[in-house]
């Protein structure tokens, strides 16, 4: 009998430009058997571009599992700089093929104006790189 246990697997990615989508392409660890929950959070960075403690959407994320065979759909990524954490994960039940890819795209939706990225593509000092983390609640058999 294989024993599985719960783990939380973060996949952080960095956003370096307001207008260029971020491509996500990473191999999940082979001990992950099944994803049972997904949560996407802003980690750090955006707080230095805004005085707001909460923005409902800073970007859109699409995610695919199992070498693009399973499309999880699109998620809004909020910015929440308030201390209260939420335990809420989107429920999922995705059996993971060993060694398969997690892929997707992230499109930034905030601070896209000319004052953040000039017409020639250079980034101004008003822009701050930021990190978004995808948390996978998963069953692992390692």
């Amino acid at each position: 009998m294989t024993k599985t246990r719960i783990i939380y697997h973060p996949v952080p990615f960095i956003v370096r430009q307001p207008l260029t989508p971020v491509t996500i392409n990473t191999v999940l660890p082979s001990h992950i058997r099944k994803v049972i929950g997904i949560k996407v959070v802003h980690s750090v960075g955006v707080q230095s571009m805004t005085t707001a403690a909460y923005l409902p959407v800073i970007g859109y994320l699409s995610l695919e599992f199992n070498n693009k065979q399973y499309h999880f759909g699109h998620l809004d990524v909020p910015f929440d700089n308030r201390a209260e954490a939420s335990d809420a994960y989107h429920d999922a039940a995705i059996d993971i093929m060993a060694g398969s890819l997690l892929t997707g795209n992230y499109e930034n939706k905030v601070f896209t104006g000319i004052e953040y990225q000039k017409a020639d593509g250079t980034i101004t000092d008003k822009w701050s790189n930021y990190i978004v983390t995808i948390y996978l609640k998963a069953l692992s058999d390692d």
Binding site: Y8, Q17, S48, S128, N129
Partner: protein, 195 residues
């Protein structure tokens, strides 16, 4: 009266920005299940970008890059829900519990330019700056603790390292005043055990 549950606690003191503190402890011998975990951190401002990794018997439960603020619950959450509960309780039999807390760990990654221009997935090796878990079964008490002093960044918010080719905002925009963080501060880890 025999209690069927216990809140096992470990306290850490973070003395400076960017400090990394490792602890290990043995789970209480009378309890066989670990059902949940929660952190309590001295200052809200210290939560963002700080990380907490957790292992049981050398098996990873929370990655070292797991954000501390996801394990802290506020006063607006009913008291019985203030924990990350594991769907499947983790079996423990005098198990080795290990944790590693890193103050403002993620801020140090923001200036990383080794990704494609748009950005991309941060490799686990970048986040887990050093292999800090101590392997081997010889360590069982609180007395054995390891601290790494990673370079000190200006917590709570710091953007960019010196080698960045981009200019990072220093006074640009009008960043929200971060909640202040004073050092030292305490991190309390509460683990919910049951028989």
């Amino acid at each position: 009266m025999i209690q069927g549950y216990r809140f096992q606690k470990v306290s850490l003191r973070i003395s400076k920005s960017g400090q990394r503190v490792y602890f290990n402890a043995e789970s209480h011998k009378d309890f066989s299940m670990l059902k949940g975990i929660a952190l309590s951190v001295g200052y809200d401002g210290a939560l963002f970008g700080s990380t907490f990794g957790f292992r049981v018997d050398e098996k990873k439960v929370l990655d070292e890059s797991h954000e501390a603020h996801l394990l802290v619950f506020g006063n607006d959450v009913p008291p019985n829900n203030r924990m990350l509960f594991f769907e499947k309780p983790i079996p423990i039999h005098s198990a080795k519990l290990e944790g590693i807390y890193t103050d403002s760990a993620l801020q140090s990654l923001l200036g990383n330019i080794s990704y494609s221009p748009g950005g991309g997935v941060i490799a686990a090796t970048d986040v887990n700056v050093k292999k800090t878990y101590v392997s081997g079964k010889d360590i069982v008490s609180y007395g054995n603790a390891v601290v790494d002093n990673v370079p000190v960044y200006n917590a709570p918010i710091n953007i960019g390292l010196g080698n960045s080719s981009m200019t990072m905002p220093s006074t640009g925009a009008s960043p929200s005043a971060p909640a202040p963080v004073y050092y030292p501060y305490d991190v309390k880890i509460t683990m919910f055990l049951s028989r």
